[in-house]
């Protein structure tokens, strides 16, 4: 019989890893040890970590395959950019404006999640994968032809440049295939770090609550879950919409990190990239998603700076295959378990040694008093 560790401690370890990584990286930036190109990767890496953790909620914890997670990121990115520009005069404080834009982005992601989820999550089978795949493409193509701008007459939105009658001194926010241009960069590494922490709090606390247990029950056995009175559609939708909202917030952060963003950035490949992070990190493992997303996002960019730049995607593919082989190999996982065991044993031995040291000392003392 197998024992299950209490997962509350696991959750705290995840917060610890994220906080430690943030402190170390901030210190490295402060000491000038981090190159500019690496520094520019920090915010997108944060976005991809949030994407991976949120997708894990759908794929690993709810057990439904979603192939359009980038679509929710796209919704969040463009609605967040529009919100940040509209709020420019109202909210002069940049961090607050970023936070408000992220709320708007999360709301847009959640709305997308509801629109996709309500009809599809009632069905059983792989329909969600098919529909989310299409959803990602649809969102991309809609934003490719969308024109959004603001001038003294108010807010303008059109589906082609002919109908887009913005006055000469108005600001165009989204210009069809050119995407969003002239964006004020509001994103910062600290904001990304806070977003990761919020994501972890939401996902981990959700999983360890009544609702999270219902979601995992649906994954393990839908018929049994129904037989104990769990509303299937409600909890599927809850997990899926939460996942989409977090992806929307990550999208806003991503969009506000660049002066221009095009819709084709959030295509099928991005969805699959995030899915790869989740699968390689381990389905249902939050820590796995964080580590896989951070390493596998930074790796190809790091390889770019070496002489082997031409082969970087080849090396990246090989690394992916190796990770996949390693995590599915019993001998490898057993080895990792043994390594963990060594550390534990070593820790115990050191603790025992310290204890015995203390004991001999006190014994020695006892001896002298007796004498």
């Amino acid at each position: 019989m197998k024992k299950i560790n209490k997962n509350s401690l696991n959750g705290f370890i995840n917060y610890g890893i994220v906080i430690a990584a943030f402190v170390i990286l901030q210190a490295a930036i402060g000491m000038g040890r981090l190159s500019n190109s690496l520094q520019s990767l920090l915010v997108p890496a944060c976005c991809y970590i949030v994407m991976a953790v949120s997708l894990n909620l759908t794929v690993g914890i709810l057990g439904e395959l979603s192939l359009g997670h980038a679509g929710f990121m796209s919704l969040g990115a463009f609605s967040g950019i529009v919100a940040s520009i509209l709020l420019q005069d109202l909210v002069p404080m940049a961090p607050l404006r970023l936070a408000l834009s992220m709320v708007v982005g999360a709301a847009a992601g959640a709305l997308g999640g509801v629109i996709v989820g309500v009809p599809v999550l009632r069905l059983q089978g792989d329909y969600l994968a098919i529909v989310t795949l299409a959803f990602g493409q649809i969102i991309k193509n809609i934003i490719m032809v969308l024109y959004v701008g603001v001038d003294e007459n108010g807010f303008h939105m059109a589906a082609s440049s002919d109908h887009f009658n913005l006055s000469a001194d108005g600001t165009a926010i989204i210009k069809g295939p050119m995407g969003a241009v002239g964006v004020t960069k509001l994103a910062s590494f600290t904001a990304g770090f806070i977003l990761i922490l919020i994501t972890l709090v939401v996902v981990q606390n959700l999983v360890n609550s009544r609702s999270g247990r219902a979601i995992m029950a649906l994954r393990d056995n839908r018929i049994a879950a129904e037989s104990v009175g769990i509303n299937v559609t409600k909890y599927k939708l809850m997990a899926f919409v939460t996942s989409a909202a977090l992806a929307g917030a990550a999208g806003t952060l991503f969009g506000l990190n660049y002066s221009s963003t095009v819709a084709s950035k959030f295509d099928f490949n991005t969805s699959i990239l995030v899915l790869v992070f989740v699968v390689l990190g381990g389905l249902g493992s939050i820590r796995g998603s964080i580590i896989a997303a951070a390493l596998l996002y930074v790796l190809p960019e790091l390889l770019r700076s070496f002489d082997i730049a031409e082969y970087r995607m080849l090396i990246y593919a090989i690394v992916l295959i190796l990770v996949m082989l390693a995590t599915n190999n019993e001998q490898f996982t057993a080895l990792m378990g043994r390594v963990g065991g060594w550390f534990k044993a070593a820790g115990k031995r050191i603790a025992g040694w310290l204890k015995s040291l203390g004991r001999t000392e006190s014994k020695g003392k006892g001896g002298t008093t007796n004498g």
Binding site: R213, M216, N221, V228
Partner: protein, 282 residues
């Protein structure tokens, strides 16, 4: 059904003997009434003219040869299948058009012939999922860990251990449900069903795969559950020692039709039942 039954360990309440046969029911209204219940799959009539009444604290048995439609009856009662004909009244309320989860909230809990646990979760989590509808905090109090969350989670933890103690399983609380031995998995399924606070508990072959001493223990526990929780229990079982030992009313099904109803003695001497099980005497 609305009032919550509190389980107190070791407190036995004497129960009047009820029966499937309505004339023998003592005063109280029955918990379950099925009339003219039936279902067709395409052209095949799987269950037909199924009429049964189960008393509030009765232990009823549903027996019959393989393929007689016993599990189909359970699936009809829990609305896994929507019946083609007939009505099911639970505590006087019509269950027409309800979903399986609504049926559970109305008061029917069940176990499955092929065990259906939440295999990746711990034993305690399995029971807590059974307690799902008795915990009342929202998703947001869960995420923000408001005081309501801590209060109700603590109560759920204690209640889960209390329920597990019926089968002396409280020490297994941290184990993975899928890794338990077969017998323990069957018992956990019963505990999970009980956690939903049912008025009627349906057990689908609870003794399958158990040895005689385990079966004897299970029989004691089924009676104990009925006495402590004051609920009706209906069970499908092939082990005749269990059925004849604890069921107050027995219903025999063959080819989707009820062929006999009555007490253990009546069933044992019924020629139609003997014929269904052993074939015609030459």
């Amino acid at each position: 059904m609305a009032e919550k039954k509190q389980f107190e360990k070791g407190k036995m309440v004497p129960v009047p003997s009820h029966s499937i046969i309505p004339e023998r029911d003592l005063g109280t209204s029955p918990i379950l009434e099925c009339s003219h219940l039936g279902i067709d799959f395409g052209g095949l009539t799987a269950v037909n003219e199924f009429n049964i009444t189960v008393g509030r604290t009765e232990i009823a048995g549903l027996i019959g040869p393989n393929g007689a439609g016993k599990t189909t009856v359970f699936n009809l009662l829990t609305k896994v299948y929507q019946p083609t004909r007939g009505t099911i009244l639970l505590d006087g309320l019509d269950t027409h058009g309800k979903t399986p989860s609504q049926i559970n909230r109305m008061g029917i809990a069940r176990t499955f012939q092929n065990i259906r646990l939440f295999n990746n979760l711990s034993v305690e989590e399995n029971v807590k999922i059974g307690l799902h509808n008795q915990e009342k905090y929202s998703m947001f109090s869960g995420i923000l860990r408001l005081p309501k969350y801590w209060r109700q989670e603590k109560a759920a933890h204690e209640r889960a251990l209390e329920l597990l103690s019926i089968f002396d399983m409280q020490d297994l609380a941290d184990h993975q449900a899928g890794s338990l031995p077969y017998g323990a998995q069957r018992r956990l399924e019963i505990v999970r069903a009980l956690a939903t606070n049912p008025a009627l508990l349906l057990l689908d072959e609870p003794a399958a795969g158990m040895n005689p001493s385990e079966t004897a223990e299970l029989m004691e526990n089924i009676v104990k559950i009925r006495d402590t929780f004051q609920i009706a229990i209906m069970l499908i079982e092939h082990d005749m020692s269990l059925v004849m030992g604890i069921c107050e009313g027995i219903c025999v099904l063959n080819f989707g039709q009820i062929i006999a109803k009555g007490t253990a003695e009546e069933i044992q001497s019924n020629p139609t039942v003997i014929e269904a099980y052993l074939g015609k005497q030459q």
